[in-house]
């Protein structure tokens, strides 16, 4: 019998982060996967990051995760989305070469101390009472482990749909873990089904690139991880094409052959990333929909047409593709398909992503009803840190809605549940102005160092950066008179007196570059930090206002609601509210306020009863 502190099932983005995070915390960790060679595969879009998602990548990276550096290792195209808006909503995104990305992930996993890789099929959980005691593989191998992280993606009860065809399994050519799924169903966990889809892959050699609008990699030098000093790969361009009326007609004529419209797939799909047949059905008046042609790598001709995810039969997929400009002769290498899969209602999880009914069992990724690599990776990180902390009697870094998108997501999932695949959006973060993609390290790396999940290399980088920050602080506190700025041609009124540079940075048109006479060479020392601190100064009045709000929030967070709080005994709560609150089991009064449907009047009742219980 093998014994580990933490065992992770699944080698996708969630599993990799969970296993590496647990190992970084010092836990003896095992990662079990059907196929070790598939670890690090990108099953869908070759893009990593984007709006909201880019924040998650940076945060996972700030806690020394794998995703950011692997994205840089694979990146063949960088683009900062929302560049024209305020920096808090910028979305760093890369297109990654599948092979290079996977190689980087494999190297990270194999080079991770404390981590053992095990190839095999997870067959059954071993329980002692309600608690997790171990895992049995299909070949009979047994593991003794009390902290088990389930990162099985769409493999749980996954069924693929393509036209009239049906296949079992999570991805084309892989098995679905049906035995484990049956066991989880038997455990009476709240489960539901969701669907997702993927577009057909095209042979780039059959696309007429010359007629298409190019979207080049942006010319700047930024990378996903500050530990990646510079972009390593040659940069390629993406191209933009559109669906056409002829293609829409073909889709409409064949809607009866789509499993979505046949009723074969009843589960809800993501509104944010609908299939092309959904788009045509719901927005029929549109002339055409944008499609991004994204190269999948430097050594492959595969192209990912982003925007036409579909489960239509292969012949219709081909017809639709060929009506798009530049794709008249395009050849489909692998057809698109839809996947319907089981997920656990995440309200059954505690904020550390542990199944409330089965202590020791953690869940992360698509199994919790989310979509996207970044969302999966971020949850994997949380589950891995928490499982390791529990196993070793340590603390995981304290994440909350005011310090990370990661915590926003976990809080949303565990309190509100999902009705469609959950995707990160900046709109979900109420303290968005302080949660910028470019200050993730400032927000989180220090916390990670305190709790011991940051490796040596990043720790050294952090110490250097903190020293530089101190120097910036000194420079920023210099007081300069308005006249001196005006003399340089900066847009400030001369009668505004003397202020520290940090305050001048709040003024439109006053940039760190413009203040070079006072900041001197220091900006060049760490341009990214200079930019971050200038933004802090610009947002300072808003952040100060939020501070007051946060103090108030923390007061409500100080009032605990035990998991077994008798909501049914609180008069004034409707049956629906009692059910929602019981399902979500908010840990504090503040969390109860975020459970959907809880009215102000009900909240006051909860406050009174919680106080009474506390006093009793």
């Amino acid at each position: 019998m093998h014994s580990f502190d933490v065992l992770v099932i699944g080698g996708g983005h969630a599993g990799v982060e969970a296993a590496c995070a647990a190992a970084r915390m010092g836990a003896r960790t095992a990662l079990v996967s059907f196929d070790l060679a598939a670890i690090g595969a990108m099953s869908c879009n070759p893009a990593i990051g984007g709006l909201g998602k880019g924040h998650l990548v940076r945060e996972v990276d700030a806690l020394d995760g794998v995703l950011g550096r692997a994205a840089d290792a694979g990146a063949i195209h960088y683009r900062m989305l929302n560049r024209s808006k305020g920096s808090a909503v910028w979305g760093p995104r890369v297109q990654a070469d599948r092979l290079r990305f996977k190689a980087a992930v494999q190297a990270a996993v194999r080079g991770q101390p404390n981590l053992t890789l095990v190839q095999g099929e997870a067959a059954a959980l071993l329980l002692e009472g309600e608690r997790v005691a171990g895992l049995e593989l299909a070949d009979g191998t047994m593991f003794h482990v009390k902290h088990l992280v389930l990162c099985t993606g769409t493999f749980l009860g996954g069924i693929l749909f393509r036209g009239e065809e049906r296949f079992e399994g999570g991805r084309i050519g892989e098995n679905a873990a049906h035995r484990l799924a049956q066991q989880l169903r038997g455990a009476d966990l709240p489960m539901a089904r969701l669907k997702t889809g993927t577009p057909p892959r095209l042979d780039g050699r059959t696309i007429d690139w010359a007629v298409l609008e190019e979207q080049p990699s942006d010319g700047e030098a930024w990378t996903m991880s500050p530990l990646t000093p510079r972009r390593v790969n040659p940069q390629v361009f993406c191209a933009i094409t559109r669906t056409t009326q002829a293609g829409h007609d073909a889709i409409r004529a064949n809607l009866h052959r789509s499993p979505l419209f046949l009723g074969a797939i009843a589960a809800a799909g993501p509104r944010y990333c609908p299939s092309i047949e959904d788009k045509i059905h719901r927005f029929g008046d549109r002339e055409g929909h944008q499609v991004f042609l994204e190269p999948e790598g430097l050594d492959t001709h595969m192209v990912y047409p982003n925007g036409i995810s579909t489960s239509l039969p292969v012949d219709v997929q081909e017809e639709v593709v060929r009506t798009m400009p530049g794709c008249g002769r395009a050849v489909i290498v692998q057809p698109g398909y839809a996947v319907e899969y089981d997920h656990i209602d995440p309200r059954a999880l505690t904020p550390d992503l542990q199944v409330r009914a089965i202590p020791g069992l953690y869940c992360a990724g698509q199994i919790n009803g989310t979509t996207g690599y970044e969302e999966a990776a971020a949850q994997g990180l949380v589950a891995g840190l928490e499982a390791a902390a529990a196993a070793l009697g340590k603390q995981a870094p304290a994440l909350d809605r005011a310090n990370s998108y990661i915590a926003v997501m976990v809080d949303d999932l565990t309190l509100q549940g999902v009705s469609e695949p959950y995707r990160m959006l900046t709109a979900r973060a109420e303290y968005r102005l302080r949660l910028r993609a470019n200050n993730a390290a400032t927000r989180l790396t220090g916390l990670g160092i305190e709790e011991g999940c940051i490796g040596e290399e990043r720790r050294r980088w952090w110490e250097r950066r903190e020293a530089t920050r101190e120097m910036f602080h000194v420079k920023h506190s210099q007081r300069v008179h308005a006249r001196e700025l005006a003399d340089l041609g900066l847009p400030v009124r001369r009668d505004q007196g003397e202020k520290p540079l940090a305050e001048w940075l709040r003024y439109d048109g006053v940039t760190p570059e413009a203040l070079a006479p006072w900041l001197g060479e220091i900006t060049a020392l760490d341009p990214l930090l200079a930019e971050e601190m200038a933004e802090d100064a610009a947002y300072a009045p808003y952040l100060a206002r939020q501070d007051a709000e946060l103090r108030d929030l923390r007061a409500s967070e100080a009032l605990p609601l035990p998991a077994d709080f008798p909501y049914a005994e609180v008069p004034g709560l409707s049956n629906e509210m009692v059910e929602r609150l019981s399902n979500a089991a908010p840990g504090t009064l503040a969390a109860a306020g975020r459970v959907p449907g809880v009215t102000p009047a009900a909240l006051s009742a909860l406050l009174v009863h919680a106080r009474r219980r506390l006093a009793a």
Binding site: V89, T426, A427, A602, V608
Partner: protein, 428 residues
């Protein structure tokens, strides 16, 4: 509700009256009905019963209503005895209730407190009910009723929905613009924010609800022996005295709170104002205070020489019955407090002026706390209107929503704690 105690109180007006309604709320309400009526009536149906005390003596024949919790006004089991409204009957029924186990007389406002604590009303409604309980005049009652009935809460919810709609438009621009057909904010967006801010502004400009408690302040001023005190007495006498208004700070300035035609007034009689040196230091202090009273007045009745009173004062030609009466050419009113001539006309005009300066009957009025929150929301909307960066616009809209949430207690904030543990003494 876990509070073991059951409370009762006369919930209709002071006896004697036609009917006296005694309310009982709490876990022992059922036992109380059984003890007095001898049986449980059908829920939510009025039924006639003979009420008896513990010795079996007949107390009254009354209508009994039984409302099992939690869907009741307090969220608890609730019973009502509609008795005959004589003092003796009510005292006897209350006496019979008071000796039951776990049953006691309610403290002022305790029914409201329980309704709030049991999640039946939100913060703004609870504040309205608290005001309702202390209302002494018809105007106070009507305004408090509007808040207690949720008029303000419904209005705030409606505003909140509109801000949410505006937020959704900004968030769409922020989160999806790079994905397809990048959209900018529609042209009417700023206009919509301005319209909403304008509505809030109208509410903010209304008189506060505290004004109802203080009443419309009418100050009588003029030189010594101009007839101020006589007119003062003529104005306040035979009117219902009210007790709640904030007491005056000095005895040199005599204040009297009365309700005229249901409108709360505070009449203030000042020491005579005279030019030059005061006769003695004590009088000087009195005159200083009189000037202070004038500054806080809603209306000043000037009984001195024409044109010498404070700006905007009502020129009153008093003592018309006297031999040496000095007529004023521009007098608003010519009165004799002794004969009553002109006093009714003056009162009517004061009531009219007060109605304009106090919250309208039936219209929800804001108290200071609510006013501050609403002002915060209005300020955020004004800021949002002026900003170009959608990210900051979104932040200001969020701030407006937060202010609304705090107003009605949706956010679990200090506001709610203050109200719960301060004004309502819950949990102490």
């Amino acid at each position: 509700m876990s509070a073991a105690e059951t409370i009762f109180a006369l919930s209709s007006g002071a006896p004697p009256a036609g009917v006296g309604v005694i309310r009982v709320s709490g876990p022992a309400a059922r036992e109380a009905v059984l003890a007095l009526a001898g049986r449980m009536p059908e829920a939510r149906r009025a039924s006639l019963a003979r009420l008896r005390d513990s010795n079996g003596a007949l107390l009254d024949e009354a209508l009994v209503l039984w409302f099992p919790g939690p869907n009741t006004a307090t969220g608890e089991d609730l019973a009502e005895f509609h008795c005959h409204g004589g003092r003796a009957v009510i005292a006897a029924v209350e006496g019979a209730l008071a000796i039951l186990d776990g049953v006691r007389r309610a403290e002022p406002g305790e029914f409201t407190r329980r309704a709030f604590a049991n999640g039946w009303i939100d913060l703004a409604e609870a504040e309205g009910l608290a005001d309702l309980l202390s209302a002494e005049t018809e105007l106070q009652r009507a305004a408090a009723l509007a808040n207690a009935g949720g008029a303000l809460s419904r209005q705030v919810e409606a505003w909140r929905e509109r801000v949410l709609g505006l937020s959704a438009e900004v968030e769409g621009v922020l989160d999806f613009s790079d994905e397809e057909d990048s959209a900018d904010l529609p042209e009417c967006f700023t206009w919509n924010i301005a319209a909403l801010a304008g509505e809030l502004g109208e509410w903010l400009a209304r008189p506060r609800s505290e004004r109802l408690g203080e009443g419309f302040r009418v100050v009588l001023a003029g030189p010594p022996n101009a007839g101020k005190s006589t007119l003062f007495n003529a104005l306040v006498e035979s009117e219902a005295a009210i007790t709640s208004p904030i007491a005056g700070t000095t005895r040199d300035v005599i204040e009297r709170a009365v309700a005229i035609a249901g409108v709360p007034f505070t009449f203030v009689d000042t020491a005579g104002l005279r030019e030059g040196e005061a006769a003695d230091p004590i009088e000087a202090i009195g005159i200083d205070r009189a000037r202070g009273a004038l500054a806080r007045a809603d209306a000043v009745l000037w009984l001195g020489a024409e044109g010498e009173g404070p700006e905007g004062a009502w020129e009153i030609a008093a003592q018309v019955d006297r031999a040496g009466f000095a007529a004023k050419t521009g007098a608003h009113f010519t009165v004799s407090a002794m004969t009553g001539e002109g006093v009714l006309g003056l009162k009517t005009a004061l009531v009219e002026a007060a109605r304009a300066g106090l919250p309208k009957p039936g219209e929800a009025a804001l108290n200071t706390r609510q006013h501050a929150r609403l002002a915060e929301a209005a300020e955020a909307l004004e800021a949002a209107r002026a900003l170009a960066d959608p990210l900051l616009v979104a932040e200001e809209l969020r701030r407006a929503r937060l202010a609304f949430d705090r107003l009605i207690g949706r956010a679990t904030t200090e506001d709610m704690l203050d109200t719960l543990f301060g004004r309502f003494c819950i949990g102490k």
